[in-house]
Amino acid sequence: MFPRPIEQAPTATRWLYRVAVPVALFLWLLPLLGVAVTSVRPASDLAQGNYFGMPSSIAFSNYREVFANSPMASYMLNSFKVTIPTVIGALALSCMTGFALAIYNFRSNLLVFFMFVAGNFVPFQILMVPVRDLTLSLDMYNTWYGLALFHIAFQTGFCTLFMRNFIKALPFELIEAARVEGVSEVRIFWHVVLPLMRPAIAALSVLIFTFIWNDFFWATVLSNSPESQPITAGLSSLNGQWIAQWHLVSAGSILAALPPVAMFFLMQRHFIAGLTLGAVK
């Protein structure tokens, strides 16, 4: 283990470390803490210039106000509507592509694989105009499924990289054993490989959830009305309305951050596994 375990250090160092970690954490999260505190600061505090002191009272009403006076609820709902089908769709597609690329040795295998990988890195901007036109022409502009379809397609690239490598790491004998036993390829996929991919699926689903939930660019490009905008785009436009109303902006930010943070906390192990296995955003 590196660095040398702190338990082996002198007591003083140990105590210093125990203090240093929370202090560092506090500094590290200072901006976030500020926002969290502001989100429960009464508007009057801001008016009086009390931006960073102790709030004069705790105003959870800010949150109520956010929901009452803005389409925040609808934004959040839209985000879920885009995110959840995307997670399911991208996983379904990439389980299959990953399986095909990991198990079979056909000639263009690597070529197809690298195409998925490369596609995963391209700047969004090069896709923007054509994808927007396509979405328009399919009459899916401003719909959750228009966004979800694109995200599914794009994330399939990333997920394929991940899934393929994961399946490749499974013992190939499992597939051979099943083949010797006379199991058809489709059933091998369904009964042997898919159950073993559960950790990968869990890891990817959290990861994709966060990616899509946090997506701003495509939300801006493929939707523009509060009825269909997800929360990132919604928050950005609310920011245009809530000038100087930092307590509302903060409350909105906290609300927008909540689902991915909760997801991260609940599925932390999977999340990190996902990052480091696939390791690309």
């Binding site: 099943a178 010797v180 006379g182 199991v183």
Partner: protein, 353 residues
């Protein structure tokens, strides 16, 4: 009739030939072991029989059927992998019944066959466990059970015990021997463990670089090897090989000094070289004036191994049944039982008979 026969089978990976035309007949019910150094093609050959590798040329028959181009599933073979290849998400019972289930056998048939196999393999208490919760030996038994359940005509084993520790390996070896006795099916078994090959096989096939060196019963190979490779490969510690010179119809062995030995085999003309093979247990040492020096004596209790250096720079191993102390570095006199010596041609390495 469920023997296996290979007719001039060839396997190429891309341009590289790995199996160079092998002919082999394995009888119905026979236990056939493939041995050979790493990379000689044992696994490849086995996988060709299983259908997991395409056969480049030649024919493979199982029983009377030509299976050369047939899917693994339809060959009536079952395979046990070195890594067990158990499905980690299924219980032991599900693992064993999986093949039958996928091929649409009714539930109760599956259940009874699994029960039967688990009885044979003493797995009854573990049927509901996942492989993770089993020891190495138990896992290996499940892998075998999975093979048994489908009632195949031919069992294929690829180094099934090499992942077990020494003690367990002995137990499982005995269990496989018993299994073969019990179900009597044809079995092909790949290993690089001497002891497994010697103790399990009805017939050993010694492979080397994709070619068969010799086929025979264990004792045939041990006592009567066809060539130097087989002689050196079978038996542990390996046979000592020394240079010899034909001298008046006898063979002189410069390293051991002493007079020429009678051979009773057809030797090349005088002055030609031969290779003399002597098993460690057919040699004996005693301290005495000599050019040969005891380098290291390894005393294991019941038996000692002496490593000797000859003046020619050759190295000899001698197995001794006592544990007397001889100091390392002592000159020793080596005696041997000339009737046990084998002789090989220097160039072709064929046995001289």
């Amino acid at each position: 009739m469920t023997g296996v026969s290979l007719d001039n089978v060839v396997k190429k990976f891309g341009p590289i030939a790995v199996i160079h035309g092998i002919d082999l007949r394995i009888e119905d019910g026979e236990f056939c072991v493939f041995v050979g150094p790493s990379g000689c093609g044992k696994s490849t050959l086995l996988r060709m029989v299983a259908g997991l590798e395409k056969t480049t040329a030649g024919k493979i028959h199982i029983g009377a059927r030509d299976v050369t181009d047939i899917d693994p599933a339809e060959r009536g073979v079952a395979m046990v992998f070195q890594t067990y290849a158990l499905y980690p998400h299924m219980t032991v019972a599900e693992n064993m019944g999986f093949g039958l289930r996928m091929n649409g056998h009714p539930k109760d048939v599956i259940r009874s066959k699994v029960a039967e196999a688990s009885r044979i393999l003493k797995l009854d208490n573990y049927l509901d466990r996942k492989p993770k919760a089993l020891s190495g030996g138990q896992r290996q038994r499940v892998a075998i059970g999975r093979a048994i359940v489908r009632g195949p005509e031919v069992f294929l084993f690829d180094e099934p015990l090499s992942n077990l520790d020494a003690e367990l390996r002995v137990d499982m070896r005995i269990e496989i021997a018993r299994l073969h006795k019990e179900i009597g099916a044809t079995m092909i078994y790949v290993t690089h463990d001497q002891v497994e090959a010697m103790t399990l096989a009805d017939k050993i096939v010694v492979l080397r670089a994709g070619r068969i060196e010799q086929v025979g019963t264990p004792m045939q190979l041990y006592a009567d090897p066809d060539n130097r490779f087989v002689a050196g490969f079978i038996g542990s510690p390996s046979m000592n090989f020394l240079d010899g010179v034909v001298d008046g119809g006898k063979v002189r062995i410069p390293a051991l000094g002493g007079g020429p030995v009678d051979t009773g085999v057809a030797l090349p003309p005088d002055g030609h070289k031969v290779v003399v093979g002597l098993r460690p247990q057919h040699l004996a040492v005693a301290p005495g004036p000599s050019d040969i020096v005891l380098d290291i004596r390894e005393r294991l209790g019941g038996v000692s191994y002496d490593y000797l250096d000859t003046p020619q720079g050759e190295r000899l191993i001698v197995e001794t049944r006592d544990d007397a102390v001889i100091d390392e570095g002592t000159p020793v006199v080596v005696t041997f039982d000339a009737t046990q010596a084998l002789f090989f041609d220097v160039d072709t390495e064929r046995r001289l008979r």
